[in-house]
Amino acid sequence: MAFAPFDQAGIPVEDQFRSWSELNVDPLSSRPDDPYTLARVILMNGTEVEAALFSHHFSRQTDNPEIKRSLALSRRVEQQQQKAVNWLLPGDASPLETTLSYEQVAVDLTAWLARMEPDPTIQQALNFALLEDFDHLYRYANLYELIDGRHAEEITQHLTEITPGRPTFIEHRHPFDELRPHFATQTVDPLSRLHVMTITSAEQQTLNYYMNHGPDFMEPIARGLYAEIAQIEEQHVSHYESMLDPLDSWFANLLFHEFNEVYLYWSMFQQETDERVKALWELHLNMELGQLQEAARLLRKYEGREPLELLPPELPEIPLTFESNKQYVRDVLAAEIDLRADGLLIVPESELPSDHRWWAFQKTVNAGGSPTEEIINLQRDKQGRDYRDETEGPNPVPALRGTQDATV
Protein backbone atom coordinates (compact mmCIF):
# COMPACT_ATOMS: atom_id res chain seq x y z
CA MET A 1 0.00 0.00 0.00
CA ALA A 2 2.44 2.58 -1.27
CA PHE A 3 1.50 6.17 -0.52
CA ALA A 4 2.33 8.66 -3.29
CA PRO A 5 2.37 12.14 -1.71
CA PHE A 6 2.66 14.07 -4.94
CA ASP A 7 -0.56 12.51 -6.26
CA GLN A 8 -2.48 14.02 -3.34
CA ALA A 9 -3.58 17.64 -3.38
CA GLY A 10 -4.05 17.84 0.39
CA ILE A 11 -5.59 20.97 1.91
CA PRO A 12 -4.54 24.26 0.25
CA VAL A 13 -2.28 26.11 2.68
CA GLU A 14 -4.52 29.20 2.71
CA ASP A 15 -7.38 27.05 4.03
CA GLN A 16 -5.42 25.50 6.90
CA PHE A 17 -5.96 28.06 9.66
CA ARG A 18 -7.85 27.06 12.80
CA SER A 19 -9.43 28.99 15.66
CA TRP A 20 -7.95 29.22 19.14
CA SER A 21 -10.49 26.75 20.47
CA GLU A 22 -9.42 24.18 17.90
CA LEU A 23 -5.78 24.66 18.86
CA ASN A 24 -6.42 24.53 22.58
CA VAL A 25 -6.99 20.79 22.48
CA ASP A 26 -7.95 18.74 25.51
CA PRO A 27 -4.75 17.32 26.92
CA LEU A 28 -3.99 13.64 27.23
CA SER A 29 -3.95 11.97 30.60
CA SER A 30 -0.54 12.02 32.27
CA ARG A 31 -0.79 8.21 32.32
CA PRO A 32 -2.21 7.44 28.87
CA ASP A 33 -3.13 3.85 28.01
CA ASP A 34 -0.33 3.81 25.46
CA PRO A 35 2.83 5.71 26.45
CA TYR A 36 3.76 5.76 22.78
CA THR A 37 0.87 8.16 22.16
CA LEU A 38 2.84 10.65 24.25
CA ALA A 39 5.97 9.65 22.35
CA ARG A 40 4.26 10.45 19.05
CA VAL A 41 3.16 13.83 20.40
CA ILE A 42 6.72 14.63 21.49
CA LEU A 43 8.19 13.56 18.15
CA MET A 44 5.69 15.55 16.09
CA ASN A 45 6.11 18.61 18.30
CA GLY A 46 9.85 18.49 17.60
CA THR A 47 9.15 18.09 13.90
CA GLU A 48 6.87 21.15 13.86
CA VAL A 49 9.37 23.23 15.84
CA GLU A 50 12.03 22.35 13.25
CA ALA A 51 9.63 23.22 10.39
CA ALA A 52 9.04 26.67 11.87
CA LEU A 53 12.71 27.33 12.70
CA PHE A 54 13.88 26.22 9.27
CA SER A 55 11.31 28.51 7.65
CA HIS A 56 12.51 31.45 9.76
CA HIS A 57 16.12 30.84 8.75
CA PHE A 58 15.17 30.59 5.08
CA SER A 59 13.08 33.74 5.31
CA ARG A 60 16.05 35.71 6.66
CA GLN A 61 17.96 34.92 3.46
CA THR A 62 15.56 36.54 1.03
CA ASP A 63 13.46 39.62 0.34
CA ASN A 64 11.64 38.03 -2.59
CA PRO A 65 8.03 38.98 -1.77
CA GLU A 66 6.46 35.82 -3.17
CA ILE A 67 8.89 33.51 -1.36
CA LYS A 68 8.65 35.44 1.90
CA ARG A 69 4.86 35.39 1.82
CA SER A 70 4.68 31.73 0.97
CA LEU A 71 7.06 30.92 3.82
CA ALA A 72 5.14 33.16 6.21
CA LEU A 73 1.89 31.47 5.27
CA SER A 74 3.12 27.90 5.72
CA ARG A 75 5.09 28.84 8.81
CA ARG A 76 2.06 30.27 10.59
CA VAL A 77 0.31 26.99 9.90
CA GLU A 78 3.32 25.00 11.15
CA GLN A 79 3.08 27.03 14.35
CA GLN A 80 -0.63 26.24 14.66
CA GLN A 81 0.19 22.59 14.13
CA GLN A 82 2.84 22.79 16.85
CA LYS A 83 0.26 24.20 19.28
CA ALA A 84 -2.38 21.61 18.43
CA VAL A 85 0.18 18.84 18.90
CA ASN A 86 2.13 20.04 21.91
CA TRP A 87 -0.99 21.18 23.77
CA LEU A 88 -1.92 17.49 23.95
CA LEU A 89 0.76 17.17 26.62
CA PRO A 90 -0.89 16.66 30.00
CA GLY A 91 -0.94 19.75 32.21
CA ASP A 92 -0.73 17.56 35.29
CA ALA A 93 2.60 16.09 34.21
CA SER A 94 5.59 17.83 35.77
CA PRO A 95 8.51 18.94 33.58
CA LEU A 96 10.45 15.97 35.01
CA GLU A 97 7.72 13.53 34.00
CA THR A 98 7.69 15.01 30.50
CA THR A 99 11.48 14.74 30.48
CA LEU A 100 11.17 11.01 31.17
CA SER A 101 8.86 10.76 28.15
CA TYR A 102 11.38 12.73 26.07
CA GLU A 103 14.13 10.25 26.90
CA GLN A 104 11.82 7.33 26.22
CA VAL A 105 11.24 8.87 22.79
CA ALA A 106 14.98 9.31 22.33
CA VAL A 107 15.61 5.64 23.12
CA ASP A 108 12.83 4.01 21.15
CA LEU A 109 13.01 6.40 18.20
CA THR A 110 16.78 6.11 17.88
CA ALA A 111 16.77 2.35 18.29
CA TRP A 112 14.06 1.88 15.67
CA LEU A 113 15.80 4.19 13.20
CA ALA A 114 19.09 2.36 13.76
CA ARG A 115 17.40 -1.00 13.15
CA MET A 116 16.02 0.24 9.82
CA GLU A 117 19.00 2.36 8.70
CA PRO A 118 20.62 1.20 5.43
CA ASP A 119 23.90 3.16 5.81
CA PRO A 120 26.25 1.54 8.38
CA THR A 121 27.94 4.87 9.23
CA ILE A 122 24.60 6.50 10.00
CA GLN A 123 23.53 3.40 11.89
CA GLN A 124 26.70 3.61 13.96
CA ALA A 125 26.00 7.28 14.72
CA LEU A 126 22.49 6.34 15.86
CA ASN A 127 23.74 3.49 18.03
CA PHE A 128 26.38 5.75 19.50
CA ALA A 129 23.93 8.39 20.74
CA LEU A 130 21.32 5.75 21.61
CA LEU A 131 23.45 4.52 24.51
CA GLU A 132 23.78 8.07 25.76
CA ASP A 133 20.07 8.89 25.76
CA PHE A 134 19.46 5.49 27.30
CA ASP A 135 21.68 6.53 30.18
CA HIS A 136 19.87 9.89 30.53
CA LEU A 137 16.62 8.03 31.12
CA TYR A 138 18.26 6.19 34.03
CA ARG A 139 19.67 9.39 35.56
CA TYR A 140 16.38 11.30 35.31
CA ALA A 141 14.48 8.27 36.66
CA ASN A 142 16.66 8.40 39.75
CA LEU A 143 16.03 12.12 40.12
CA TYR A 144 12.31 11.36 39.87
CA GLU A 145 12.49 8.88 42.71
CA LEU A 146 14.67 11.17 44.78
CA ILE A 147 12.57 14.32 44.57
CA ASP A 148 9.09 12.98 43.82
CA GLY A 149 9.32 9.56 45.46
CA ARG A 150 7.87 7.94 42.34
CA HIS A 151 8.98 5.36 39.84
CA ALA A 152 9.61 6.21 36.22
CA GLU A 153 8.12 2.88 35.12
CA GLU A 154 4.70 4.48 35.75
CA ILE A 155 5.51 6.59 32.70
CA THR A 156 7.51 4.21 30.54
CA GLN A 157 5.16 1.32 31.44
CA HIS A 158 8.01 -1.19 31.18
CA LEU A 159 8.20 -0.73 27.40
CA THR A 160 11.67 0.78 27.72
CA GLU A 161 14.14 -0.56 30.26
CA ILE A 162 15.75 1.77 32.76
CA THR A 163 19.36 0.94 33.60
CA PRO A 164 22.71 2.61 33.00
CA GLY A 165 23.92 3.09 29.43
CA ARG A 166 27.17 4.77 28.48
CA PRO A 167 27.57 6.77 31.69
CA THR A 168 26.74 10.41 31.03
CA PHE A 169 29.93 11.82 32.54
CA ILE A 170 31.88 9.85 29.93
CA GLU A 171 29.77 11.27 27.09
CA HIS A 172 31.33 14.75 27.30
CA ARG A 173 33.72 15.13 24.38
CA HIS A 174 35.57 17.94 22.73
CA PRO A 175 33.40 19.79 20.17
CA PHE A 176 35.72 18.70 17.36
CA ASP A 177 34.73 15.11 18.09
CA GLU A 178 30.99 15.58 17.77
CA LEU A 179 31.10 16.05 14.00
CA ARG A 180 30.38 13.08 11.73
CA PRO A 181 30.83 12.51 7.98
CA HIS A 182 27.82 13.64 5.96
CA PHE A 183 25.80 11.79 3.37
CA ALA A 184 25.97 12.92 -0.26
CA THR A 185 22.59 14.15 -1.40
CA GLN A 186 22.91 12.37 -4.75
CA THR A 187 23.67 8.92 -3.42
CA VAL A 188 21.85 8.86 -0.10
CA ASP A 189 19.04 6.37 0.28
CA PRO A 190 15.90 8.52 0.72
CA LEU A 191 15.18 6.59 3.92
CA SER A 192 18.50 7.69 5.43
CA ARG A 193 17.72 11.30 4.61
CA LEU A 194 14.39 11.02 6.44
CA HIS A 195 16.06 9.30 9.37
CA VAL A 196 18.73 11.98 9.80
CA MET A 197 16.23 14.83 9.47
CA THR A 198 13.86 13.20 11.97
CA ILE A 199 16.45 12.48 14.65
CA THR A 200 18.01 15.94 14.26
CA SER A 201 14.62 17.58 14.95
CA ALA A 202 13.94 15.29 17.89
CA GLU A 203 17.32 15.97 19.51
CA GLN A 204 16.99 19.70 18.87
CA GLN A 205 13.62 19.80 20.62
CA THR A 206 15.04 17.78 23.54
CA LEU A 207 17.85 20.30 23.79
CA ASN A 208 15.34 23.18 23.73
CA TYR A 209 13.26 21.50 26.41
CA TYR A 210 16.18 21.01 28.81
CA MET A 211 17.56 24.49 28.11
CA ASN A 212 14.24 25.96 29.20
CA HIS A 213 13.12 23.60 31.94
CA GLY A 214 16.39 23.05 33.81
CA PRO A 215 15.89 26.19 35.89
CA ASP A 216 12.27 25.20 36.78
CA PHE A 217 13.63 23.27 39.76
CA MET A 218 14.58 24.37 43.25
CA GLU A 219 16.84 21.40 44.00
CA PRO A 220 20.47 22.07 43.02
CA ILE A 221 20.91 18.43 41.96
CA ALA A 222 18.01 18.75 39.51
CA ARG A 223 19.33 21.99 38.05
CA GLY A 224 22.79 20.46 37.73
CA LEU A 225 21.46 17.32 36.09
CA TYR A 226 19.55 19.28 33.44
CA ALA A 227 22.55 21.50 32.73
CA GLU A 228 24.82 18.51 32.25
CA ILE A 229 22.43 16.48 30.10
CA ALA A 230 21.43 19.55 28.03
CA GLN A 231 25.07 19.80 26.96
CA ILE A 232 24.95 16.22 25.70
CA GLU A 233 21.83 17.06 23.72
CA GLU A 234 23.81 19.92 22.18
CA GLN A 235 26.41 17.34 21.19
CA HIS A 236 23.65 15.16 19.74
CA VAL A 237 22.26 17.98 17.62
CA SER A 238 25.74 18.76 16.26
CA HIS A 239 26.41 15.06 15.72
CA TYR A 240 23.25 14.44 13.69
CA GLU A 241 22.96 17.70 11.79
CA SER A 242 26.54 17.27 10.58
CA MET A 243 25.35 14.22 8.63
CA LEU A 244 23.10 16.35 6.38
CA ASP A 245 24.54 17.36 3.02
CA PRO A 246 25.32 21.10 2.90
CA LEU A 247 24.93 20.96 -0.86
CA ASP A 248 21.13 20.97 -0.68
CA SER A 249 19.60 24.32 -1.60
CA TRP A 250 17.04 26.22 0.46
CA PHE A 251 14.19 25.05 -1.75
CA ALA A 252 15.39 21.45 -1.83
CA ASN A 253 15.54 21.58 1.96
CA LEU A 254 12.06 23.05 2.15
CA LEU A 255 10.76 20.22 -0.02
CA PHE A 256 12.57 17.60 2.11
CA HIS A 257 11.12 19.11 5.31
CA GLU A 258 7.55 18.93 4.01
CA PHE A 259 8.11 15.43 2.63
CA ASN A 260 9.42 14.28 5.98
CA GLU A 261 6.42 15.79 7.77
CA VAL A 262 4.14 13.92 5.37
CA TYR A 263 6.01 10.69 6.08
CA LEU A 264 5.88 11.19 9.83
CA TYR A 265 2.18 12.12 10.10
CA TRP A 266 1.34 9.24 7.77
CA SER A 267 3.37 6.97 10.08
CA MET A 268 1.80 8.28 13.29
CA PHE A 269 -1.66 7.93 11.77
CA GLN A 270 -1.11 4.23 11.02
CA GLN A 271 -0.22 3.31 14.58
CA GLU A 272 -2.25 5.65 16.74
CA THR A 273 -4.43 3.86 19.30
CA ASP A 274 -6.15 7.00 20.61
CA GLU A 275 -8.93 7.81 18.13
CA ARG A 276 -9.00 11.52 18.91
CA VAL A 277 -5.25 11.87 18.39
CA LYS A 278 -5.45 9.71 15.28
CA ALA A 279 -7.90 12.20 13.76
CA LEU A 280 -5.39 14.98 14.44
CA TRP A 281 -2.61 13.05 12.70
CA GLU A 282 -4.88 12.58 9.69
CA LEU A 283 -5.78 16.27 9.55
CA HIS A 284 -2.12 17.26 9.80
CA LEU A 285 -1.17 14.74 7.13
CA ASN A 286 -3.61 16.44 4.77
CA MET A 287 -2.19 19.83 5.71
CA GLU A 288 1.37 18.69 5.05
CA LEU A 289 0.33 17.37 1.64
CA GLY A 290 -0.89 20.89 0.81
CA GLN A 291 2.34 22.40 2.13
CA LEU A 292 4.34 19.89 0.09
CA GLN A 293 2.49 20.97 -3.06
CA GLU A 294 3.44 24.58 -2.35
CA ALA A 295 7.09 23.67 -1.73
CA ALA A 296 7.05 21.76 -5.02
CA ARG A 297 5.58 24.75 -6.85
CA LEU A 298 8.33 27.05 -5.52
CA LEU A 299 11.05 24.54 -6.40
CA ARG A 300 9.72 24.27 -9.93
CA LYS A 301 9.36 28.00 -10.43
CA TYR A 302 12.61 29.21 -8.86
CA GLU A 303 14.98 26.30 -9.40
CA GLY A 304 13.54 24.79 -12.57
CA ARG A 305 13.52 21.42 -10.83
CA GLU A 306 10.75 18.88 -10.53
CA PRO A 307 10.19 17.46 -7.04
CA LEU A 308 10.38 13.96 -8.47
CA GLU A 309 13.92 14.67 -9.64
CA LEU A 310 14.85 14.90 -5.95
CA LEU A 311 12.47 12.52 -4.22
CA PRO A 312 11.01 9.11 -4.85
CA PRO A 313 7.35 9.13 -5.91
CA GLU A 314 6.32 7.10 -2.88
CA LEU A 315 6.85 7.15 0.87
CA PRO A 316 8.96 4.37 2.39
CA GLU A 317 6.85 1.23 2.71
CA ILE A 318 7.33 0.89 6.46
CA PRO A 319 5.93 3.64 8.67
CA LEU A 320 8.25 4.98 11.35
CA THR A 321 7.13 2.96 14.35
CA PHE A 322 7.25 3.41 18.11
CA GLU A 323 7.69 0.03 19.70
CA SER A 324 9.74 -1.65 22.36
CA ASN A 325 13.38 -2.20 21.36
CA LYS A 326 14.69 -3.82 24.53
CA GLN A 327 16.80 -6.56 23.02
CA TYR A 328 18.28 -4.27 20.39
CA VAL A 329 19.30 -1.72 23.02
CA ARG A 330 20.82 -4.47 25.16
CA ASP A 331 22.83 -5.80 22.22
CA VAL A 332 24.17 -2.37 21.32
CA LEU A 333 24.97 -1.62 24.95
CA ALA A 334 26.92 -4.85 25.36
CA ALA A 335 28.87 -4.36 22.14
CA GLU A 336 29.40 -0.60 21.96
CA ILE A 337 29.60 0.85 25.44
CA ASP A 338 33.33 1.52 25.13
CA LEU A 339 33.12 3.46 21.87
CA ARG A 340 34.30 7.07 21.81
CA ALA A 341 34.39 9.73 19.08
CA ASP A 342 37.69 10.67 17.51
CA GLY A 343 37.31 13.36 14.86
CA LEU A 344 34.96 11.97 12.23
CA LEU A 345 35.47 8.42 13.48
CA ILE A 346 33.97 6.34 16.26
CA VAL A 347 36.56 4.09 17.88
CA PRO A 348 37.06 1.99 21.03
CA GLU A 349 38.39 3.96 23.96
CA SER A 350 41.47 1.75 23.95
CA GLU A 351 42.42 3.26 20.58
CA LEU A 352 42.43 6.85 21.82
CA PRO A 353 46.00 8.04 22.30
CA SER A 354 46.82 9.09 25.85
CA ASP A 355 47.16 12.73 24.77
CA HIS A 356 43.79 12.78 22.99
CA ARG A 357 41.73 15.95 23.59
CA TRP A 358 38.95 13.75 25.02
CA TRP A 359 40.90 13.27 28.26
CA ALA A 360 41.63 16.96 28.65
CA PHE A 361 38.02 17.89 27.96
CA GLN A 362 36.78 15.30 30.45
CA LYS A 363 39.09 16.72 33.07
CA THR A 364 37.85 20.26 32.51
CA VAL A 365 34.09 19.67 32.54
CA ASN A 366 34.05 16.94 35.17
CA ALA A 367 36.31 18.83 37.57
CA GLY A 368 34.53 18.72 40.90
CA GLY A 369 32.32 15.80 39.90
CA SER A 370 29.33 15.40 37.63
CA PRO A 371 25.66 15.80 38.65
CA THR A 372 24.73 12.65 36.71
CA GLU A 373 27.02 10.65 39.03
CA GLU A 374 26.01 12.60 42.07
CA ILE A 375 22.34 11.74 41.63
CA ILE A 376 23.13 8.04 41.82
CA ASN A 377 25.30 8.53 44.90
CA LEU A 378 22.52 10.48 46.59
CA GLN A 379 20.07 7.71 45.79
CA ARG A 380 22.39 5.06 47.18
CA ASP A 381 22.99 7.06 50.32
CA LYS A 382 19.27 7.48 50.83
CA GLN A 383 17.79 4.20 49.54
CA GLY A 384 20.79 1.92 49.70
CA ARG A 385 20.31 1.32 45.96
CA ASP A 386 19.74 3.12 42.70
CA TYR A 387 16.46 2.93 40.77
CA ARG A 388 16.26 0.64 37.75
CA ASP A 389 13.60 -1.08 35.69
CA GLU A 390 15.41 -4.07 34.23
CA THR A 391 12.64 -6.24 32.82
CA GLU A 392 14.89 -8.55 30.81
CA GLY A 393 17.49 -9.35 33.42
CA PRO A 394 20.59 -7.64 34.75
CA ASN A 395 22.41 -4.97 32.78
CA PRO A 396 24.26 -6.63 29.87
CA VAL A 397 27.48 -4.91 30.91
CA PRO A 398 28.82 -6.56 34.09
CA ALA A 399 30.40 -3.33 35.32
CA LEU A 400 26.99 -1.64 35.22
CA ARG A 401 25.17 -4.33 37.19
CA GLY A 402 23.43 -4.20 40.53
CA THR A 403 23.98 -1.38 42.91
CA GLN A 404 27.71 -1.26 42.51
CA ASP A 405 29.28 1.94 41.28
CA ALA A 406 27.91 2.79 37.86
CA THR A 407 31.21 4.06 36.54
CA VAL A 408 33.20 1.92 34.15
Binding site: T62, N64, T121, R180, T187, E303, E306, E309, P312
Partner: protein, 229 residues
Protein backbone atom coordinates in the same frame (compact mmCIF):
# COMPACT_ATOMS: atom_id res chain seq x y z
CA UNK B 1 15.97 11.55 -21.62
CA UNK B 2 19.32 11.97 -19.87
CA UNK B 3 19.68 12.07 -16.08
CA UNK B 4 18.59 15.59 -15.13
CA UNK B 5 19.45 15.20 -11.43
CA UNK B 6 21.58 12.22 -10.41
CA UNK B 7 20.00 10.84 -7.25
CA UNK B 8 19.62 7.54 -5.44
CA UNK B 9 16.64 6.55 -7.61
CA UNK B 10 18.57 7.27 -10.83
CA UNK B 11 21.46 5.08 -9.64
CA UNK B 12 23.92 7.82 -8.66
CA UNK B 13 27.36 6.83 -7.38
CA UNK B 14 30.21 8.81 -5.84
CA UNK B 15 33.75 8.19 -4.73
CA UNK B 16 34.88 7.63 -1.16
CA UNK B 17 36.05 10.66 0.79
CA UNK B 18 36.78 10.76 4.53
CA UNK B 19 34.15 13.47 5.07
CA UNK B 20 31.36 11.63 3.28
CA UNK B 21 29.36 8.53 4.06
CA UNK B 22 28.04 6.59 1.08
CA UNK B 23 25.02 4.32 1.03
CA UNK B 24 26.12 0.71 0.39
CA UNK B 25 26.23 -0.12 -3.31
CA UNK B 26 26.66 3.54 -4.29
CA UNK B 27 30.40 3.76 -3.88
CA UNK B 28 32.45 4.18 -7.05
CA UNK B 29 35.79 2.52 -6.23
CA UNK B 30 38.88 4.63 -6.90
CA UNK B 31 40.41 1.66 -8.74
CA UNK B 32 37.49 1.56 -11.17
CA UNK B 33 37.93 5.26 -11.94
CA UNK B 34 41.68 4.93 -12.27
CA UNK B 35 41.49 1.79 -14.33
CA UNK B 36 39.13 2.87 -17.14
CA UNK B 37 40.77 0.94 -20.02
CA UNK B 38 39.74 3.47 -22.67
CA UNK B 39 41.80 6.12 -20.89
CA UNK B 40 45.04 4.20 -20.63
CA UNK B 41 48.02 6.51 -20.33
CA UNK B 42 45.93 9.35 -18.91
CA UNK B 43 44.93 10.31 -15.40
CA UNK B 44 41.66 8.46 -15.94
CA UNK B 45 40.11 9.38 -12.61
CA UNK B 46 40.74 13.07 -13.18
CA UNK B 47 39.24 12.90 -16.67
CA UNK B 48 36.12 11.11 -15.44
CA UNK B 49 35.80 13.57 -12.55
CA UNK B 50 35.96 16.49 -14.97
CA UNK B 51 33.40 14.95 -17.30
CA UNK B 52 31.11 14.43 -14.33
CA UNK B 53 31.40 18.09 -13.43
CA UNK B 54 30.72 19.10 -17.04
CA UNK B 55 27.54 17.04 -16.89
CA UNK B 56 26.70 18.65 -13.54
CA UNK B 57 27.15 22.12 -15.01
CA UNK B 58 24.87 21.33 -17.95
CA UNK B 59 22.30 19.81 -15.57
CA UNK B 60 22.38 22.99 -13.53
CA UNK B 61 22.29 24.99 -16.75
CA UNK B 62 19.10 23.22 -17.74
CA UNK B 63 17.56 24.07 -14.37
CA UNK B 64 18.75 27.67 -14.64
CA UNK B 65 17.26 28.11 -18.11
CA UNK B 66 13.96 26.45 -17.17
CA UNK B 67 13.67 28.74 -14.18
CA UNK B 68 14.50 31.87 -16.19
CA UNK B 69 12.18 30.93 -19.05
CA UNK B 70 9.35 30.89 -16.54
CA UNK B 71 10.38 34.07 -14.74
CA UNK B 72 11.53 36.51 -17.42
CA UNK B 73 8.89 39.07 -18.34
CA UNK B 74 10.18 39.45 -21.88
CA UNK B 75 8.82 37.05 -24.54
CA UNK B 76 12.03 37.03 -26.60
CA UNK B 77 14.14 36.23 -23.54
CA UNK B 78 11.64 33.58 -22.44
CA UNK B 79 11.89 31.84 -25.83
CA UNK B 80 15.67 32.06 -25.84
CA UNK B 81 15.97 30.65 -22.31
CA UNK B 82 13.58 27.83 -23.17
CA UNK B 83 15.63 26.91 -26.21
CA UNK B 84 18.85 27.00 -24.16
CA UNK B 85 17.19 24.65 -21.68
CA UNK B 86 16.66 22.23 -24.55
CA UNK B 87 20.28 22.65 -25.67
CA UNK B 88 21.49 22.02 -22.14
CA UNK B 89 19.46 18.83 -22.00
CA UNK B 90 20.97 17.73 -25.29
CA UNK B 91 24.46 18.54 -23.98
CA UNK B 92 23.86 16.45 -20.86
CA UNK B 93 23.05 13.56 -23.18
CA UNK B 94 26.22 14.17 -25.20
CA UNK B 95 28.37 14.17 -22.05
CA UNK B 96 26.66 11.07 -20.69
CA UNK B 97 27.28 9.27 -23.98
CA UNK B 98 30.93 10.31 -23.91
CA UNK B 99 31.33 9.07 -20.34
CA UNK B 100 29.76 5.76 -21.34
CA UNK B 101 31.99 5.51 -24.42
CA UNK B 102 35.05 6.02 -22.22
CA UNK B 103 33.94 3.22 -19.91
CA UNK B 104 32.64 5.51 -17.15
CA UNK B 105 29.32 5.64 -15.31
CA UNK B 106 27.07 8.56 -16.36
CA UNK B 107 25.46 8.43 -12.91
CA UNK B 108 28.82 9.00 -11.22
CA UNK B 109 29.01 12.30 -9.31
CA UNK B 110 32.57 13.50 -8.74
CA UNK B 111 33.63 15.88 -5.96
CA UNK B 112 34.17 18.57 -8.59
CA UNK B 113 30.62 17.93 -9.85
CA UNK B 114 29.36 18.62 -6.35
CA UNK B 115 31.40 21.84 -6.25
CA UNK B 116 30.04 22.83 -9.65
CA UNK B 117 26.51 22.23 -8.42
CA UNK B 118 27.11 24.41 -5.35
CA UNK B 119 28.45 27.23 -7.51
CA UNK B 120 25.62 26.93 -10.01
CA UNK B 121 22.86 26.73 -7.45
CA UNK B 122 24.24 29.83 -5.73
CA UNK B 123 24.23 31.57 -9.09
CA UNK B 124 20.61 30.60 -9.61
CA UNK B 125 19.70 31.68 -6.07
CA UNK B 126 21.23 35.09 -6.78
CA UNK B 127 18.55 35.59 -9.44
CA UNK B 128 15.67 35.37 -6.97
CA UNK B 129 16.66 35.76 -3.32
CA UNK B 130 17.05 39.54 -3.59
CA UNK B 131 14.29 40.08 -6.12
CA UNK B 132 12.33 42.17 -3.64
CA UNK B 133 14.82 45.00 -3.65
CA UNK B 134 15.55 44.99 -7.39
CA UNK B 135 13.34 46.74 -9.97
CA UNK B 136 11.92 44.60 -12.75
CA UNK B 137 14.24 45.98 -15.41
CA UNK B 138 17.35 45.35 -13.33
CA UNK B 139 15.94 41.93 -12.44
CA UNK B 140 16.10 40.97 -16.13
CA UNK B 141 19.73 42.04 -16.14
CA UNK B 142 20.47 39.95 -13.04
CA UNK B 143 19.03 36.88 -14.78
CA UNK B 144 21.01 37.61 -17.90
CA UNK B 145 24.17 37.95 -15.83
CA UNK B 146 23.59 34.48 -14.45
CA UNK B 147 23.37 33.22 -18.04
CA UNK B 148 26.55 35.05 -18.95
CA UNK B 149 28.45 33.45 -16.08
CA UNK B 150 27.01 29.97 -16.62
CA UNK B 151 27.64 30.14 -20.38
CA UNK B 152 31.18 31.31 -19.78
CA UNK B 153 31.87 28.30 -17.53
CA UNK B 154 30.31 25.94 -20.10
CA UNK B 155 32.34 27.50 -22.90
CA UNK B 156 35.56 27.11 -20.91
CA UNK B 157 34.76 23.49 -20.13
CA UNK B 158 33.82 22.46 -23.67
CA UNK B 159 36.65 24.34 -25.37
CA UNK B 160 38.99 22.83 -22.80
CA UNK B 161 37.79 19.38 -23.76
CA UNK B 162 38.18 20.19 -27.46
CA UNK B 163 41.76 21.27 -26.83
CA UNK B 164 42.42 18.11 -24.86
CA UNK B 165 40.99 15.79 -27.55
CA UNK B 166 44.36 15.02 -29.20
CA UNK B 167 45.72 13.83 -25.84
CA UNK B 168 43.19 10.99 -25.62
CA UNK B 169 44.38 7.55 -26.73
CA UNK B 170 44.06 7.23 -30.47
CA UNK B 171 41.08 5.18 -31.59
CA UNK B 172 37.67 4.84 -29.96
CA UNK B 173 38.44 7.18 -27.03
CA UNK B 174 39.70 10.06 -29.13
CA UNK B 175 36.90 9.50 -31.65
CA UNK B 176 34.32 9.61 -28.87
CA UNK B 177 35.70 12.91 -27.54
CA UNK B 178 35.78 14.38 -31.02
CA UNK B 179 32.21 13.22 -31.65
CA UNK B 180 31.08 14.86 -28.44
CA UNK B 181 32.76 18.23 -28.93
CA UNK B 182 31.50 18.37 -32.52
CA UNK B 183 27.93 18.24 -31.25
CA UNK B 184 28.18 21.21 -28.93
CA UNK B 185 28.57 24.89 -29.74
CA UNK B 186 29.43 26.42 -26.37
CA UNK B 187 30.42 29.80 -27.78
CA UNK B 188 26.97 30.66 -29.14
CA UNK B 189 25.16 31.17 -25.78
CA UNK B 190 28.12 33.10 -24.45
CA UNK B 191 28.19 35.43 -27.44
CA UNK B 192 24.43 35.83 -27.25
CA UNK B 193 24.56 36.66 -23.54
CA UNK B 194 27.31 39.22 -24.08
CA UNK B 195 25.53 40.88 -26.99
CA UNK B 196 22.15 40.87 -25.27
CA UNK B 197 23.64 42.34 -22.14
CA UNK B 198 25.13 45.18 -24.16
CA UNK B 199 21.77 45.73 -25.82
CA UNK B 200 19.89 45.73 -22.49
CA UNK B 201 22.33 48.13 -20.92
CA UNK B 202 21.92 50.42 -23.94
CA UNK B 203 18.13 50.20 -23.86
CA UNK B 204 17.97 51.08 -20.21
CA UNK B 205 20.61 53.78 -20.33
CA UNK B 206 18.60 55.59 -22.98
CA UNK B 207 15.17 54.82 -21.53
CA UNK B 208 13.09 57.65 -20.12
CA UNK B 209 10.41 55.35 -18.73
CA UNK B 210 12.59 54.04 -15.94
CA UNK B 211 13.54 57.52 -14.78
CA UNK B 212 10.05 59.00 -14.87
CA UNK B 213 9.00 59.67 -11.28
CA UNK B 214 5.44 58.65 -12.05
CA UNK B 215 6.39 55.36 -13.75
CA UNK B 216 4.33 52.56 -12.26
CA UNK B 217 5.30 48.91 -12.07
CA UNK B 218 2.87 48.38 -14.95
CA UNK B 219 4.69 50.99 -17.06
CA UNK B 220 8.00 49.28 -16.39
CA UNK B 221 6.57 45.85 -17.08
CA UNK B 222 5.08 47.07 -20.38
CA UNK B 223 8.50 48.40 -21.31
CA UNK B 224 10.27 45.14 -20.46
CA UNK B 225 7.76 43.17 -22.51
CA UNK B 226 8.43 45.20 -25.62
CA UNK B 227 12.21 45.26 -25.42
CA UNK B 228 13.71 43.94 -28.67
CA UNK B 229 10.39 44.43 -30.54
Amino acid sequence: MPITSPMFHTGATTKPMPTITITPGREMPIETLQGAPALKGMNAMFVLDVLSDMAAHDRCGRHLYLSLAGRSANPMLQRKYASYAEDAEKNIGVTEQLITDLGGDPGYVSPSARAAEKMDSSLLEATFLLEGSVDIMTQELVMLDAVLLAASRADAAWSGLRALAPSFPEGPARDAVQRAVDQVDPAEPLEWARATRTKLIGLQAKSTVATAIAATAEDLMARVKTWFD
